[in-house]
Symmetry: C2
Subunit: 410 residues, 2 copies
């Protein structure tokens, strides 16, 4: 099935070369025909790495591999394939990872544990290892600094547009770059990580510091996006620091101010990529931003926001351009978090419709109805209990989601 490009798609930004990171993609023919489906990144010696992964209890073999490899904190390569996720493939799946890492290590002259692996696509089918291995030498020869756009395209599955973001940041007087790519459209409800996203920087940052920066940025970006409440078995976010930039030394005990601008830029890259995933949610016609304020804690606000964002009744109402705030009230109530019906307020498009347990007197639906017809819908819920707040993003639930998922595998 050829999918129409999401009406919420963004153009691919210009991606600058990033010292110490080179990439190549190829049409290995793992599942898709006539498109690139496999990507190799080669990183400079001394590259450090941080990662966050799915909390799904049935993770794919590549997730297991990366979790183990991450303990070393060093990376020289990343191999990604699209079309087959190598999930629930037992011993064969583990062997595929081992052989891929060994072959890549031999080609690039590094250790297998410095090779990271990610796979995305159908669950439960054996990944044809020989096809994968046969493509590696060509990829190793072809890596170049200016192929980020090609990599963003090659990792897509049901995505309708490639997703990439870039930012610059100052560390001391030096300027470093952060490049990131992501894929994701369905099975999106990350729990501490989401789908595939690969970010690289030329900054020189020790792995433990890098991990802290990634985890923090991830919590308010990828972990605040949901398309369908279904947490993938392959969610992987990896951040590589190639160490090619010249800037003041970063250590675990560096003053926080040194990395403040870097943390801001990293958050911006993750934020851009996470919202692109929501914009490309399967069948999405509208991008939905949900602000929750007045909760008893930030965690509670996040849970309430996700309950709204995951409610099929809220999402179908948005698809129907119906400002059905009663369903928002229902979703707040079902979240299981502290909520008091009689202190609750709901706004859509900045217009308060419900306040303190009832509809706002003389509420005029006209501006709200106009807002609902747009591509971006904003919902604000104030619980009136405390100071906890959170923002989450989702998309509407449309017929196209059912079309895509009733026939994805067949």
């Amino acid at each position: 099935m050829a999918l129409a490009v999401s009406p919420l798609a963004l153009p691919l930004p210009a991606m600058p070369a990033l010292p110490g990171a080179e990439t190549a993609s190829t049409a290995a023919g793992i599942r898709y025909k006539a498109r690139e489906d496999m990507t190799l990144f080669r990183f400079a010696t001394g590259t450090t790495v941080a990662g966050v992964f799915t909390r799904n209890r049935c993770p794919g073999a590549p997730v297991d591999w990366c979790r183990a490899a991450l303990k070393g904190g060093k990376a020289r390569a990343l191999v990604v394939n699209a079309g087959n996720s190598n999930v629930f493939t037992g011993k064969a799946g583990r062997e595929t990872c081992e052989r891929t890492a060994a072959e890549t290590a031999a080609l690039l002259g590094c250790k297998p544990r410095e090779v990271f692996i990610a796979s995305t696509g159908v669950i439960g089918e054996r990944l044809p290892t020989d096809v994968l291995l046969a493509a590696l030498p060509g990829l190793a020869q072809g890596v170049a600094a200016d192929n980020w756009a090609g990599a963003a395209r090659a990792i897509m599955t049901t995505d309708t547009f490639p997703k990439a973001a870039s930012r610059q940041a100052r560390i001391g007087d030096a300027v470093v770059t952060i490049n990131g790519i992501a894929k994701g459209s369905g099975m999106i409800a990350p729990d501490m990580a989401t789908m595939l996203a690969f970010i690289a920087t030329d900054a020189k940052i020790p792995a433990p510091v890098l991990q802290k920066l990634l985890s923090r940025a991830n919590a308010t970006t990828f972990n605040c996006v949901t398309v369908d409440s279904d947490t993938s078995t392959s969610d992987t976010v990896l951040l590589f620091a190639t160490g090619q930039a010249k800037h003041p030394r970063v250590a675990a005990d560096s003053p926080p101010a040194l990395l403040r601008d870097f943390a801001r830029a990293l958050h911006a890259v993750l934020h851009d990529l996470a919202l692109m995933v929501a914009r490309d949610g399967e069948g999405a016609q509208k991008l939905v931003t949900i602000h929750v304020t007045g909760a008893v804690s930030g965690k509670s606000a996040h849970r309430v926001g996700m309950a709204i964002a995951n409610s099929p009744l809220v999402k179908t109402a948005i698809a129907g351009e119906d400002a059905n705030w009663g369903r928002i009230v229902m979703a707040v109530g079902k979240a299981g978090e502290p909520a008091d019906r009689d202190k609750l307020s709901v706004a859509v498009g900045g217009v308060w419709m419900a306040r303190e347990g009832g509809v706002v007197p003389d509420y005029d639906e006209t501006p709200v109805a106009a807002h609902m017809k747009g591509r971006e819908v904003e919902i604000t819920v104030d619980l009136g209990l405390g100071r906890g707040k959170a923002t989450v993003w989702t998309c509407d639930l449309t017929h196209a989601y059912i079309d895509i998922n009733g026939s994805y595998r067949s």
Copy 2:
């Protein structure tokens, strides 16, 4: 929008008269045109009552009313309206309940706290109290023993068929009857209770004993059904015992054997009604039964079952008649319950497809594909960890769900 009758609909069973319970329905014109939308039940003096209600934190005014009234343990009347749920209606909603109870009590010669109230329909619109009150005298005059079918029809909203069930049971040498009706189609994901269901028996059972029987039967019936993961603000199950049957005295300290047959019959009535709700799930084309075995506990098995039953990816695959067991694996893993990928087995239609972390060797999809084309789909998941088990029911997710919910309010 006129909805086609669910292909999973069951015919309305013959509903015997139940001594001590009389009912009447009328077209009060609260929201719907040209159909009955309001029902009154009158119960004999001495009727006891038990109830379970939604755990949604934003419950409707009628739920608040019933929770308070239930403390008395006695019931003489039940007033139900469809088309407006009287939820998130503030002080006006509370007053509607108070005036309805007072008027009904005056007509029937009982206390307001012996009048139970339930409303179902749109959230957040003021219920026209005068319309409700004007219909009460006619209803009070019209109550008769043989109108259960009319009541089952009058409480419907997006339901496409009326739901009723009846059983007989022995208490000592006496035979008692249990009649029940229910409504529910969307916003179905009960948490300790679900939607509207009203059950009556002519047995004579003290309220605390009745409550225990109801809570126990509810746990494995209504609480194991989900249509869309959205827990309603109005879920209410009430069980009335009119005490007209002559049987050995039932007390809190009666031997368990005395009520064993009654408990079995009560469970059967709730089971029938709960499955009818799944059969009438908005847009349902298939009834899905999910058995989970080998979990660390019954509670854990239930959570895993509900994670599968609520997964949009599993439900759309079933709508597409695709035996996509990879998505079942994903849903097991996202439940957050103990699960070991490498001990997990999945069967569809009784055929084991995945076992111990991989696809079954020489797995033949032919019989499974045939099973998926039927109206009833059976999924079995064995976690291989312990002895906990549970069965839950849901329906598939189809285009009709989106049609119904994109335009329900407007």
